[in-house]
């Protein structure tokens, strides 16, 4: 079971434990357990040792330590780490020079006192929902290693779910934080598009890329999110907003109106996912159903934008090194590079329509509840699975419930629900969706589920 980041920080701040000793325990855990899950593609223990010693030295000098002092964490391997080659899950990036500097969010984590222990596996170029990477291996589900971890931030989900680290950073373009959080039984936050800086992250789809944290508790998630906030003029999408801290114990305001998303979000959900929503709704006191009619076109828009931008981004390398790309996604990338401009423009127009409809929904509700994945994590290697009696393609289906929300940039917290507490030990997440810039409500709703014992790592 995972160790709470805030507990570690409290121990380090009080002197009950040292950052160096926490790191030693973490290193031993990673070296012993990671071979079973394949979360890490690189470790940074020498750097971590320096960072941990620096934290302990600050405490010895009597300094006030920051919020995540001595807390080990790791990042999806599309975040730049100074001295490490940024793979973004790709063989074609393996010969690139090492990053000269840390990604902006890694800089901010260091400022918060966190200790970076390594880089985590992902689907190649973040184009996938299973983290079955032909070059670097599949990352396995911490609760059933025969199943996928989810993707594309599979290493980030599994490393927290397996208790290797209490925190990780991931990215989410169409569901890549929420799907692995759902399958690995952890909390994940996809903030509002433009909330957190992407400087120093290998891009996938500039129009849709978000970054965010994953954690074993809502408090850990919220405090990490607070540490990651801040405007960054180097990222053109990053909003020039003041930091709006959530704090460690977010509470839902009295009278919060929670709507349950029907239609698309029930049609593509298997019984366990529907049950998870029902269980969460009961705890949250949600009884009113609503529909986001733009879900299907928003998902289509996200799909087209992803194909077109992704194909264009990798066009040059695809021509030169097609054979070195991930077999599961390279033909999709090439096909995406052929999408007519008129389709892409129409997709961008569709986002505005969908966004306006969502804002209308938020006149009636403060938080929307929906499943984060259609079902439990599928078995590794499964090309298809059965959803409500239909055989559906695994890779194409896992993001159906997250893509419509990414398309319009709303903040979402994924909270892990265990629909069969007496049965199989697998989670399926729910999405707690709020209006733009209201991450506080997403986190408060997740905290309500956690306090009731309904959502937990």
């Amino acid at each position: 079971m995972s160790v709470s980041a805030l507990d570690i920080a409290r121990r380090v701040r009080s002197g009950v434990g040292s950052a160096v000793s926490v790191l030693a325990e973490t290193r031993a855990r990673i070296e012993t357990c990671d071979p079973a899950f394949n979360c890490f593609t690189a470790t940074t223990f020498e750097r971590a040792q320096r960072e941990a010693a620096a934290i302990d030295a600050r405490r010895a000098r009597g300094e006030t330590l920051p919020s995540l002092a001595g807390v080990p964490y790791a990042v999806k391997n599309l975040f730049d780490i100074a001295g490490v080659t940024t793979l973004a899950g790709a063989k074609v990036n393996a010969e690139n020079p090492a990053a000269a500097a840390d990604a902006q969010l890694v800089v901010q984590m260091q400022a918060a006192g966190a200790i970076l222990v390594g880089a985590l596996n992902m689907d190649e170029h973040a184009y996938g929902f299973t983290c079955e990477n032909t070059h670097y291996g599949a990352t396995r589900n911490p609760h059933d290693p025969s199943r996928v971890s989810g993707g594309s931030s599979g290493g980030s989900g599994a490393a927290v779910g397996a208790g290797l680290v209490p925190l990780s950073l991931g990215s989410d373009t169409g569901g890549s934080i929420r799907v692995p959080a759902s399958f690995c039984g952890v909390f994940g936050l996809k903030p509002t598009y433009g909330r957190l800086s992407r400087t120093g992250c290998f891009p996938f789809i500039d129009s849709l890329d978000h970054v965010g944290p994953l954690a074993a508790t809502v408090s850990d998630l919220a405090v990490t999110y607070d540490a990651l906030q801040g405007a960054d003029p180097r990222d053109h999408a990053c909003a020039q907003r003041d930091i709006e801290p959530v704090g460690a114990a977010p509470l839902l305001p009295a009278g919060t109106r929670i709507g349950i998303l029907g239609g698309w979000f029930q049609d593509w959900a298997a019984p366990p996912a529907r049950r998870a929503v029902q269980m969460a709704a009961e705890v949250l006191g949600a009884t009113q159903w609503c529909e986001f009619k733009s879900a299907a076109p928003a998902r289509a828009a996200a799909f087209i934008i992803t194909g077109a931008e992704g194909g264009a981004l990798h066009l040059k390398k695809l021509k030169a090194r097609y054979a070195d790309f991930e077999p599961a996604s390279r033909d999709r990338l090439v096909a995406g590079s052929l999408i007519p401009a008129a389709w892409l423009i129409q997709a961008q127009r569709m986002r505005k329509i969908a966004y306006d409809e969502a804002l209308e929904l938020f006149r009636h509700f403060d938080v929307l509840l929906a499943p984060a994945a259609p079902d439990y994590a599928p078995l590794i290697g499964s090309e298809t699975f059965t959803l409500n009696g239909q055989t559906v393609p695994t890779r194409a289906t896992l993001g159906l419930l997250t893509q419509p929300i990414s398309c319009i940039g709303l903040p979402v917290c994924a909270a892990p629900i265990w629909p069969e507490p007496e049965g199989i030990n697998l989670s399926v997440g729910v999405q707690l969706i709020a209006a733009p810039w209201r991450e506080d409500l997403c986190l408060a709703a997740a905290a309500t589920l956690e306090r009731a014992g309904m959502a937990h790592a």
Partner: protein
């Protein structure tokens, strides 16, 4: 898109040449299959019968910002 797979195949083959790709016939067939899937999903927002209707202004596509 309701075009036949042959029409899509022709488009894909031509567009691949335009981009400077060089693929075998088998690879072109696979890429065509992927493109056909994209085209099928695109119908949701491109056809006149799309719900919501595709009666979007023919003007600019706004840069999305929440």
């Amino acid at each position: 898109m309701s075009e036949s797979i042959d029409a899509l195949h022709g488009y894909v083959r031509s567009a691949l040449v335009l981009h400077g790709y060089a693929f075998s016939d088998a690879q072109v067939a696979e890429i065509t299959a992927q493109f056909a899937r994209i085209a099928a999903i695109a119908e949701t927002i491109l056809l006149p019968a799309a719900k919501p209707p595709a009666d979007l202004d023919p003007g600019t596509a706004p840069v999305f910002r929440p």
